[in-house]
């Protein structure tokens, strides 16, 4: 199968290019066929390739060409499928395929339909190249490419000012992280002279400790941006301005996991630097906690799910920072299922409510949208970590990984965040689907989504229920045995978890999840706890969470505003005053001089002839006087 790997990224690329060129005039509302076909081919080939990798337990690779041959330094475009890439391939192509199908219904009738189905396969192509790359430069190129696709899709409804702003924000915030990532790649090149994974990982141990830490932290900066960790997570909630399938595909299931994937891919570098690992763990835990508290207070259904994504990415990050590589990738995989499900379910609700996103104007939708309700409930329960759904197994393993990885505080923070996760997830369920109908029944008639949107929901909910069993029994499941070859060697530490620990944590996290469920039930169904009263009693703490910990305000005051002032100054003083002044000044000077000299052009031949004659006389005269000394 190794010779067919190139088809995996190529098929979506062709679909994207054809839709770009012919979509507007010829394909229009048929553009989705090609896109779905492309991604389906990609998925099919991926399954075949992954099957072979699983059977032979060796990485497959296909060399396409050498991009930069410069002496000893080579940047080959080689597609490599090892076990880690295999997992990502299935997640990316599988979720993408479902999202493509769902989008046919969701985007139906949109004037930009063809454009949507050009951007979406382009994103799939970029993401696949990102996971298939075998060196950091190629990874970086497609890292930027997925950033571009994300920008295009967030700003898909570019006539909406808020969408255009959100796209810009995502792009700029990601640049900050990418800058660090770029520096990290350069640092690797400077010290090791190669960018291929195998070469880098083989030599990295020989570097001084400080250098390794610097490389690891710079690479992680990229992950902070792309995977929406503190302090760069602010772009992800705003990215909800894009169409909901985009939120499901890019801003929940695939692209935001690129940072996690990259850190897992670079694990020998991180493993060699305990300091960097500690930073990753702390940032991950802080992200998981902060985003969960914000999620508790938001009213926009998509925003809650978005903050939930940030929080879950925080879980993955602290699993990485604790050395629980497999747990992080496991959580990434299960999260892809249930978060895509949640977003598509939220999209279904929004679709049914005629683009209403505020949960205060929903309620009682269970009756109108039974299918959406049940699938959303499954997604929420999986996200909340209710036994035995997917999220339970992976989240539990992440927390246990942090505990045995020597980071008990991180594990406890993870448990607290898990309580919040359960609370905000069921808050969404109860506010949206239960209770009285808080919308105007005369103007809004909620209707169940068409089959083309329902089928992906059903498939994803099957995944959200059963994906967790890949990791059962904990630490020794199919998933772990499959990924084991990737995360061994290079001085990997293996923590063996006793059955008692596993069971204890399983019980604790089940208790925590059920506590969250119970609190949500008491607050939003029974009314035993008044959320408004609790909010008032918490006062500043509630405001802190509701205002998203003032991250946006702080950036506005510390970075955006001064930069804006600086830009205005540069514009008014430097650009208009100095640069334009210099250009206009030169032109003015030439004009002034020319106005004086044009008087010489009298138009009278006699004057010109006189000038010639006088000139000749002067030249000859000079020659006669000094010429004898000049030409000796």
């Amino acid at each position: 199968m190794a010779n067919w790997i190139f088809l995996i990224p190529l098929a979506p690329l062709i679909a994207a290019v054809v839709n770009f060129i012919f979509g507007r005039w010829y394909l229009r509302d048929r553009a989705h066929w090609l896109a779905i076909l492309g991604v389906a081919i990609s998925f099919g080939v991926s399954v075949a390739v992954v099957a072979q990798v699983a059977r032979d337990e060796v990485a497959l690779s296909q060399h396409l060409y050498t991009w930069i041959p410069a002496g000893d330094f080579q940047v080959p475009v080689t597609l490599t499928v090892d076990q880690l890439t295999a997992v990502m391939l299935l997640v990316v192509t599988g979720v993408s395929l479902l999202v493509h199908i769902y989008s046919v219904g969701y985007m139906h009738g949109d004037p930009g339909f063809y454009r949507f189905f050009a951007y979406l396969p382009l994103f799939v192509f970029s993401m696949l190249m990102l996971v298939l790359a075998n060196n950091y430069l190629l990874l970086f190129v497609f890292w930027e490419a997925v950033g571009l696709c994300s920008y295009l899709l967030i700003g898909f409804w570019y006539r909406r000012r808020s969408a255009a702003q959100a796209a810009k924000k995502a792009f700029v915030v990601n640049r900050v992280g990418d800058f660090g990532f770029g520096l990290g790649v350069m640092l690797i090149f400077v010290h090791l002279g190669t960018l291929e994974y195998t070469g880098v990982f083989a030599q990295v141990g020989a570097l001084p400790q400080g250098t390794i830490t610097a490389i690891a932290l710079l690479l992680f900066t990229g992950a902070i941006g792309k995977s929406a960790q503190i302090p760069l997570f602010v772009w992800l909630p705003d990215a909800m301005e894009g169409p909901t399938p985009v939120s499901a595909l890019i801003h929940a299931a695939t692209m935001v996991t690129a940072g996690i994937f990259m850190v897992a891919r670079s694990w020998p570098i991180f493993a060699a630097s305990p300091d960097a690992m500690l930073v990753v763990a702390i940032i991950g835990a802080a992200t998981a906690f902060v985003a969960a508290t914000i999620g508790l207070t938001q009213y926009d259904i998509k925003k809650v799910v978005a903050y939930s994504t940030v929080s879950q990415l925080g879980y993955m990050a602290f699993a990485l920072g604790s050395g629980a590589w497999v747990a992080a990738i496991f959580h990434l995989t299960t999260h892809a299922f249930f978060k895509a499900l949640l977003f598509l379910g939220a999209g279904s609700v929004i679709h049914a409510m005629h683009d209403e996103q505020d949960m205060r104007r929903m309620g009682g939708l269970k009756r109108h949208l039974p299918l959406t309700y049940w699938t959303f409930l499954i997604g929420s329960a999986a996200n909340a970590g209710i036994f035995p759904l997917a999220g339970f197994w992976s989240k539990d393993e992440v927390i246990v990984g942090a505990w045995v990885g020597g980071r008990p505080i991180v594990a406890i923070v993870g448990l607290v965040a898990a309580l919040f996760t359960s609370l905000y997830m069921f808050r969404v369920v109860f506010l949206t689907f239960h209770g009285p109908e808080r919308f105007d029944a005369h103007t809004v008639h909620p209707h169940e989504s068409p089959p083309v949107m329902a089928v992906p929901l059903l498939i994803l909910s099957v995944g959200a229920v059963f994906a967790g069993f890949l990791g059962v029994p904990p630490e020794r499941g199919v998933f772990h045995r499959f990924l084991e070859p990737v995360f061994s060697g290079h001085g990997a530490e293996v923590h063996h978890v006793s059955t008692a620990t596993t069971l204890t944590f399983g019980l604790i996290s089940t208790a925590v999840a059920l506590a969250g469920l119970g609190l949500a039930y008491a607050a939003y169904v029974r009314g035993a706890i008044k959320p408004a009263v609790v909010a008032a009693r918490l006062g500043p703490l509630y405001q802190l969470a509701y205002r998203r910990w003032y991250f946006d305000e702080i950036y506005e005051a510390l970075i955006v505003h001064p930069l804006y002032r600086l830009s205005v100054w540069l514009w008014r003083v430097v650009d208009i005053g100095i640069i334009d002044g210099a250009v206009n000044g030169v032109a003015g000077l030439v004009n002034f001089t020319a106005q004086r000299w044009r008087r010489v052009q009298t138009g009278l031949v006699a004057n010109y002839a006189l000038a010639i004659a006088l000139g000749t006389v002067i030249i000859v005269g000079v020659y006669l006087i000094v010429g004898s000394t000049l030409f000796q």
């Binding site: 052009q601 009298t602 138009g603 009278l604 031949v605 006699a606 002839a609 006189l610 004659a613």
Partner: protein, 102 residues
């Protein structure tokens, strides 16, 4: 009566050249200016002949013949321009011809 030398030729040549040049500078009639230019040509011819006579060489005379031929060709072009000018502007006064000024 002293012997004829190159100096005499050159004096004549210089006188003719200066007369021609002053004519070009002072006169306004295009035709006269043109004739003055011819005068300057021939002043140069005289100095060539003078040197040829002094040096007993045919090179100078050959040159003079060449210049006469070239001057004939130039006269055709020059007169053609003057014809076109007088037809177009109905004048041969050089000061009236200043279309390039603005």
């Amino acid at each position: 009566m002293s012997e004829l030398t190159a100096t005499h030729f050159l004096t004549l040549s210089a006188a003719l050249f200066i007369i021609g040049m002053l004519g070009v500078l002072i006169r306004r009639n295009v035709l006269v200016i043109f004739m003055c230019i011819e005068l300057m040509f021939n002043a140069v011819n005289v100095s060539f002949i003078g040197f040829a006579w002094e040096q007993h060489s045919l090179v100078g005379q050959t040159f003079a013949l060449f210049i006469i031929a070239v001057a004939a060709a130039e006269a055709v072009v020059g007169l053609g321009i003057i014809m076109a000018l007088s037809r177009r502007l109905d004048t041969v006064d050089i000061d009236q011809v200043h279309e390039l000024r603005e």
